[in-house]
Subunit: 143 residues, 4 copies
């Protein structure tokens, strides 16, 4: 795993400001758990109103928090003033999203001038154990 | 485009029941717009609390409604008693999700015994025009 | 489906030159079947030395011709002087790649200044019938 | 990373037989570098006849060796008698595929009864250094 050098010394504040500006994160009850250069973690407690027909977290909610973790991981390495948008992502759902709490991690795989490639994961905390729920491969763009 | 034959004559009711059982759809304010064999449409009015940092619909919300449209399109062709789960999906974001209202369409591309492959799209209704916002390619599994 | 306007009147010659410069296409025995603005078709006769363990075309060969069809479809709409590279693609394999001949089609879904999103398909010609073998969703970049 | 237990004690021979049965691997000049439970590596020397217009390995060849590495990694954990097919994969191309030699690695992320999810990578050996060229996320099916 490469060590990443932030282009912006104020990277953490930018990520925190960006997260605070995503109304959906508040709507879902998600919080920013950690910000380091090239890696961001988001936590989400389970709520009944975020589920699909079996009571598991809906795949759209899984995607929302992992996509945001990946996007902010990308932003943490971008030059001052840049904004980040998702170009595309692919998600594999590995296990039912059941648990009391979920942690999404986004990590930069390759940071380019225009495009940043990220890998993301969602882990469920279920009865004291960690279950790998989903994995994402995403492309982000700076603008 | 192939004509699809439902294996279950009560396919529409099953889809309507499945949609009603997804708490997230209510949370987002999404409604079922149409159900035909192999194709399902879901509508979503824009709301401020579903946005990312630029005021566009968050990619997770885009994914939620297109994934549900694809999943229920798959379910509409499955045998009685089967439930549907998303195995994986890939989403390309084509334009900012800006507009007053959004329509997600899911269509079955290939219906197998175990796996169903679907294509999905999100269109924004913006100042009287339609804008193609996102496209999805997804794999669903019957269980 | 949008009508596409080529930015380069010599788009067809550029695509033909680009195809001729891809050594792999010759190695596989692929030929350029048609070039129109935003859509390119490539043909590939079946050969034993391109197969996987069941005698079907290997998924890598399926990907090679659909990726090239998508890349050249993107190039057909790019400004003079631009070259095209694949950023990423996703392929769903819908049916075994069995047949005497295969036709890959690449189509531009959205053409931007930097990024072009394409959809691709592979059809097998098998005993006089067409079988949909694979579908691709791809992101191309101009440089 | 989970430790994987093979369901078939003869897993290595099955993978070697499967690899030998893929005519395309011979055509490309690829060889099997290592086989352990849940992880397979394939090597490919660079050849001019496998390139795209810039002299880099064509994305279809990149995909071919990483897809085979992922498929055989999945097969290494499957029950005796099972065969493996690719359902779908997504590839991000991180850097030009330039180098003297390439190593594809496929690893099982989650091994289920029917579906196996794999992650794959391609590394180029270039002037004594390793360059991460591509990353794949794939779904395999046992039949």
């Amino acid at each position: 795993m490469a060590q990443h050098q932030p282009r912006d010394p104020a990277f953490e504040q930018r990520v925190r400001d960006g997260f605070a500006a995503q109304a959906l994160m508040r709507t879902l009850g998600a919080t920013l758990a950690s910000v380091t250069p090239g890696e961001v973690r988001i936590e989400l407690p389970r709520r009944d109103d975020l589920t699909q027909q079996n009571g598991f977290l809906h795949a759209g909610v899984v995607t929302a928090v992992v996509d945001s973790a990946c996007g902010f991981a990308a932003l943490s390495l971008m030059a001052p003033g840049a904004d980040v948008l998702s170009v595309e992502f692919k998600v594999n759902l590995l296990a039912p999203a059941a648990g009391e709490r979920f942690v999404a991690t986004g990590r930069v795989v390759r940071s380019g001038r225009t495009l940043t490639i990220c890998a993301g994961d969602l882990v469920a905390l279920r009865d004291g154990a960690e279950v790998h729920v989903a994995t994402m491969l995403a492309t982000m763009i700076a603008r």
